[in-house]
């Protein structure tokens, strides 16, 4: 690795730091605005003003805001995201327990989206302006217009109630399967590692419908970006040269054009992945998927706010880190960025 490459990556990391700081500040502001006085909550039955004041003092809520912020970031640096009233456990532990379920769902959803949308985008680019192009545009726009919670319900009705193909749409495993001992927390990976294919099939059957409803939303951005990148690649000089040299069209399309269109598509996949983490909340609710989103929602309904704040913070940080990761991958993969930097 040449020093200039390290320098570019270092610059990207540095550029992400103020954004991360912004995420922490926004979460802190949201924390202070949230209704439900935590001191009043802890005071419980001893609902006298003096008791509330005392607890407020003990929790540091009577301090000036900058000092409170200092306490907040000191806590964060020690991994303290507060404690959930409803489960009694630290929010960070709860989030870490549930994060693999959410990530697995989003990963399968984006993989499904890419598998369908990339060929559609290539088709639209090859037939630019034709009916196939129009059809792809309408299909993907329909996909992005589908509320994921609604498509999830309709998939349940069709495949669980009417056709009885899908298992009961509750959670990551049906009642007859036992979760394997946790290695990565990703059920599909853990079962494969342990060679437990029966449970693997059960887990795969559970994830199909939620991943499908989440994946439909990702079709439009992926197909659009593929189409755009393919159009740019197809109109460049090296394609004209390849065609003039008499290379077979298939080879021109996939080997020359597509390979050059892959990078912007990868960037989009990174964006879509992080975006879908947000949309997963709705799908998790519909399918009782035990991820971070349904955890935050359950807490919200019980007016337990620490998990909601933790959820917003963790997803914000994850979003920044994921996009940074994609950025760095691109720097490594694309020599042109190195020249520019």
């Amino acid at each position: 690795m040449r020093p200039s490459l390290l320098l570019i990556i270092g610059k990207r990391v540095l550029a992400a730091l103020p954004v991360l700081a912004g995420v922490v500040v926004v979460t802190f502001i949201l924390t202070r605005m949230l209704p439900g006085d935590p001191a009043a909550y802890f005071a419980g039955q001893v609902d006298s003003q003096a008791a509330i004041e005392e607890i407020r003092h003990a929790m540091g809520l009577d301090l000036p805001l900058p000092i409170q912020f200092l306490h907040y970031i000191t806590g964060l640096s020690q991994g303290d995201l507060g404690r959930s009233f409803s489960t009694g456990r630290p929010v960070l532990a709860e989030m870490l327990d549930r994060l693999p379920a959410s990530l697995e769902l989003v990963l399968v959803a984006v993989a499904f989206g890419a598998a369908l949308a990339v060929p559609l985008g290539v088709l639209a680019a090859v037939r630019q302006g034709g009916w196939a192009d129009q059809a792809v545009r309408v299909i993907t726009t329909a996909g992005v217009s589908l509320p994921a919670f609604f498509s999830g319900l309709m998939l349940i009705f069709l495949f669980y109630y009417l056709l009885e193909w899908a298992p009961s749409p509750v959670g990551r495993l049906d009642a007859f399967s036992e979760a394997p001992p946790r290695i990565t927390g990703f059920l599909l990976i853990d079962c494969a590692l342990l060679g437990d294919w029966e449970t693997w099939h059960a887990a795969a059957a559970q994830i199909v419908l939620p991943a499908l409803s989440l994946g439909l939303v990702t079709l439009a951005p992926i197909a659009r970006m593929t189409r755009g990148a393919m159009l740019a690649a197809l109109s460049s000089d090296f394609i004209r040269t390849a065609r003039a040299a008499g290379l077979p069209p298939r080879q021109v399309l996939w080997t020359y054009a597509f390979r050059n269109a892959v990078l912007p598509v990868l960037t989009t996949l990174g964006m879509v992945f992080s975006y879908s983490l947000g949309g997963a909340v709705l799908v998790e609710k519909v399918f009782s998927w035990p991820g971070v989103g349904s955890f935050a929602l359950d807490a919200l309904m019980q007016l337990d706010y620490a998990p909601v704040q933790g959820f917003v913070l963790v997803l914000g940080v994850l979003y920044v880190v994921l996009n940074l990761g994609v950025d760095i991958l691109l720097v490594l993969a694309d020599p042109r960025i190195r020249v520019e930097g």
Binding site: V23, L277, V281, Y319
Partner: protein, 282 residues
């Protein structure tokens, strides 16, 4: 100018059935938002134990829900609320974005940097998660869904406005306007802002669909609009449990209305983007 624009619009719409369909759908929903309450055959709030969970029939086209309310009436009446929330939120982000972005592009310096920092931070969250956090923080009300939807969309408008103002700040016609004795505000509002409007209008129509979806999603998870108010997101949420036992209509019709409205605005927004800037179609 207006003639050539409408001629151009007609040309684009004719050659582009998808955009035409989008325009028709949007027009239809706008009409329903106005006349929906008069079209509703029943009182959307009237419950009736005897009529609980009737499937669609001649008397109740969309069936009835668990407490016997007519679904067709509820879906029709909800149009005004859903569109109203989305339009208010979009107007808010449009105005705030124009002011912030315009100031950033025109003044430059620390204002530009500050606005840029706010934009970056707001965009560092998955949109729906931030909206959820904002509604949870501000409290559970319709006004707060509007604010949350407006805030998460703000960066898109502020960026477009900033870029459009910034790119023309030193342009010849702006110099000329300044030399002709126009004040700073005059140049900004009469010469720079009007040029920023077309791309911002495209953003509006692209965003309306998202705003409808965002507001309905927040209601679906129990934030914002509260039952028994007829609203598409809540109605889908109320019908969700019934789907498992085969009563599909209580969730299907409000969900379809929601989907169709979002679809229409997305198609139209896409088409408008072609109209305003044919080069940008990707």
């Amino acid at each position: 100018m207006s003639l050539s624009f409408s001629a151009n619009a007609w040309h684009v719409l004719r050659g582009n059935p998808a955009t035409l369909a989008g325009a028709l759908i949007c027009g239809g929903f706008a009409l329903l938002a106005v006349v929906g309450p008069w079209l509703a055959p029943y009182d959307p709030m009237a419950t009736s134990a005897a009529l609980s969970l009737r499937p669609p029939s001649a008397a109740h086209w969309f069936g009835t829900d668990q407490v016997g309310r007519d679904m067709l009436s509820r879906v029709l009446v909800a149009t005004r609320l859903d569109l109203g929330i989305a339009i208010s939120a979009t107007l808010l982000s449009f105005t705030l974005g124009l002011v912030l972005g315009g100031a950033a592009g025109w003044l430059g310096g620390w204002v530009d940097r500050a606005v840029g920092r706010v934009n970056d931070t707001l965009m560092a969250f998955p949109l729906f998660v931030l909206a959820m956090g904002i509604v949870a923080a501000l409290g559970n009300s319709i006004t707060n869904i509007i604010w949350a939807t407006a805030v998460v969309n703000l960066p898109f408008y502020a960026r477009v406005a900033r870029a459009e103002v910034n790119v023309r700040r030193e342009a010849g016609f702006v110099e000329a306007a300044r030399l002709a004795g126009n004040g700073s505000a005059g140049v900004l509002f009469r010469h720079l802002i009007p040029n920023a409007l077309p791309p911002m209008m495209v953003q509006v129509s692209l965003n309306l669909g998202f705003a409808i979806l965002n507001a309905a999603s927040l209601s679906f998870i129990g934030l914002g609009v509260r039952p028994p108010t007829p609203e598409w997101g809540i109605m889908v949420s109320e019908g969700a449990a019934l789907v498992l036992s085969g009563q599909w209509w209580a969730a299907l019709f409000p969900g379809l209305a929601l989907m169709l409205a979002v679809f229409g605005f997305n198609l139209l927004g896409d088409g408008l983007r072609d109209l305003v800037d044919p080069r940008r179609r990707t």
